[in-house]
Symmetry: C2
Subunit: 436 residues, 2 copies
């Protein structure tokens, strides 16, 4: 029979089981962390009507979308979890309680150019808080506290949540007559970490901006010091623009509340260069960096938007949210070998019968399972060596061999596969549970 080569599409992550166990643990940690803050789960379809999904999209995003017809229906695969959230909230407005705090963890699809570490199918882990008409600024400080809690739970200590406010930038550009250029300017500034100050200046020149205005922009970006010092300097700048002033007030409030939420000083900072590429955000913006692994880029980003669902409803629904791009994060962390699984195997124990009498080993397995011990029993007829090799390859931490001698004596040995140590024990699930 002719065979088809079994292969997976480039840009689609497919892990071996031991890696999958690790991936799932990270995903679970993120989900548990989101739940700790009382966020509600939603699960939206991967396929949506193109008309609904692309109500706003355009440009680069639209080109990347998996879009196709079925019958005469124009369909698209979701490319993020924010547009489905907007649809969901507009559709279910009357049945939701506001502020609506939701998390969603799911796969999204972007037909990007395939390259190492870039994925076409990837998990996003999103949280958003959506207000009805209004949403207090303190919510913008709760989100960094969730980022903080989450990355601590993931085992990181040295990370920085960078916080800025788009209104400060917008107000600044308005005040120096660069309002129309502001999105483009922010896009350029956003790259400062990658390309440096001089390259930023040159790109700004190409926009036709005069040197004295560029100087103002650069001196603004160069505002330095602690978060409080930066805010003081922002307040001291003689910019009489209401948007700017409001941005500074909001940023000051966010910093105040971020401290109240218990985020240590070395885990957050005001960074006036953070703007997020998207024109989507209208206020607070965040990026998060693992300081030992800056090459990863931002591992958790987001911000405040004034009107989530304007394409679907007249209701004004301001929100604030962040997202972790889990697939890429996992790829990088795994490549750098800096994450380890809490538990390397699913099974806590492997029972290996070396007897025709399976009654005893099966009964023990059943009893252990009732005590919530993940228990596998090796049911195929192999030599003991092959069975032990299986336990080793799966990194199952404990093994019990049960032969006729063990059955007649009522005693087994629980073998710790890491240390090689064996402890004798009755054939009794509770007693065995205590040993592992």
């Amino acid at each position: 029979m002719a065979k088809v080569e079994p292969r997976t599409l480039p840009g689609f992550m497919e892990l071996l089981p031991n890696e999958q166990i690790l991936f799932d643990q990270i995903k679970q940690t993120i989900e548990d962390s989101y739940k700790t803050f009382g966020f509600l789960p939603i699960d939206t379809p991967i396929i949506e009507l193109s008309e609904v999904l692309l109500a706003k999209a355009g440009g680069e995003t639209e080109k990347q979308i998996y879009r196709f017809e079925r019958g005469d229906t124009d369909l698209s695969l979701r490319f993020d979890l924010t547009v489905p959230l907007a649809k969901y909230v507009a559709k279910n407005y009357g049945n939701l309680s506001f502020p609506f705090r939701r998390y969603q963890i799911g796969k999204v699809y972007r037909g990007e150019k395939a390259q190492k570490g870039r994925y076409r199918e990837f998990y996003q882990c999103d949280i958003d808080i959506i207000g009805d008409e209004t949403l207090d600024i303190i919510n913008d400080a709760e989100l960094p506290s969730i980022i903080y809690f989450t990355f601590k739970k993931l085992g990181f200590d040295d990370f920085t949540i960078k916080i800025n406010n788009r209104k400060i930038l917008n107000g600044l550009y308005e005040s120096i007559g660069q309002k129309d250029n502001s999105v483009e300017i922010m896009r350029i500034i956003d790259k400062i970490d990658k390309i440096g100050v001089q390259a930023v200046e040159e790109e700004l020149k190409k926009l036709g901006i005069s040197e004295d205005v560029i100087d103002k922009i650069i001196s603004f970006i160069k505002i330095d010091g602690s978060s409080d010092e930066k805010i003081d300097k922002l307040e001291a700048l003689k910019i009489e623009n209401e948007v700017y002033r409001q941005g500074v007030r909001e940023l000051k409030d966010v910093v105040k509340y971020v401290r109240m939420f218990g985020i240590p000083e070395n885990n957050f900072t005001v960074d006036l260069t953070i703007a997020r590429g998207l024109d989507y955000y209208t206020g607070t913006v965040y990026e998060t960096f693992l300081n030992d692994y800056r090459e990863l880029g931002s591992v958790c980003s987001g911000g405040r938007y004034e009107n989530l669902a304007e394409n679907y409803t007249d209701k004004k629904l301001p929100g604030v949210g962040v997202s972790i791009g889990l697939t890429r994060l996992f790829y990088k962390l795994n490549e750098l070998n800096i994450i380890k699984a809490d538990k390397k195997s699913i099974s806590d124990i492997l029972i290996i019968p070396m007897t025709e009498n399976l009654q005893v080993p099966i009964k023990l397995a059943t009893e252990l399972r009732k005590l919530k011990v993940n228990t596998e029993i090796y049911l195929n007829n192999k030599k003991i060596k092959a069975k032990m090799k299986y336990a080793n390859k799966l990194e199952i931490p404990y093994v019990i061999v049960i032969g006729d001698d063990e059955i007649s004596s009522g005693k087994i040995k629980v073998k710790n596969m890491e240390t090689g140590e064996e402890v004798q024990c009755d054939i009794d699930a509770s007693k065995i549970k205590e040993l592992i």
Copy 2:
């Protein structure tokens, strides 16, 4: 601005948060149950090359597939989790340990005619055990024990796992000269519960089968009694066909081991009418029925197949597996209102600040979260009534209101939202945790 109507495609389940909480609990229970038996997780792409995914498919299945081109690549969305498993095992053969025990829970896509309770996007929850060359018959008995454990965990007691063996049927048909008709005959017999004996007889007549052969088939199907009595009668039948004999031996072994795995007599039965529609299965087959809700049909089905990945590899990979169609099961159970969530809300407690001094309520929330209490703090400026209404709508079980009086006295009241009872307590996370 022109609005797009926010809507979800027909046949795509999208739940409100309170239903989603329940759905997620059921999914988690199934996953935990699979892990209890030491199955390993895998996660395969939703999009695959059509050439790979459709290596075997044909007929009805192929028509239902979401298939499209991107660039010059012919892509399809997975329609089950078995074909991706076959691809995965063939592709990763050298890196897997056999028997390979994997679970996968994920969405699959079938463009079926949209109707109530039928889904185009739905979750399957699969477990399979794949052997390398051989796989002992006892594995066919472990699977019913996992079904049993899982449905018990889901809160059901009165369900029946029906077990049969395709070899018995194949051997029978061979012995009565109906081998070529056997797939068609089994398809007809499979419907006996729905359409009755007489309709089955009529459909068999239409196949051109003679009356005395139909009589043999029907009297075979009518073999009754306990599981043991049925096996005795099967053995007593004078059918000298080796396939038939092997099927009876296998069924007898499966029943013996099923008992060893501790499945009570009233939760399993030999049922000679079960054949599974698919020609895919070659030995043991299963269907599971909730006896109080027979109208749901089989809620967990599967069986033994001799060669999982024959389209991709020359390796012989026999396997046995079952699948739960979770989306449809959830829809039905929810419609019948026979499932309840263990926890109706994500948050265990809602803290409602009624003060400008947010330091104390935020600190308490942070402390509670550290103790793994899911804690939400109401951060928006609303009247107390609106805040309590929010707690009620989200069915959060406990509420603490913190105003200036509470802060100065250091005492709060923990309100049980179900009973209305209030208990006074210090502002101390550990003490509060004990009360909830």
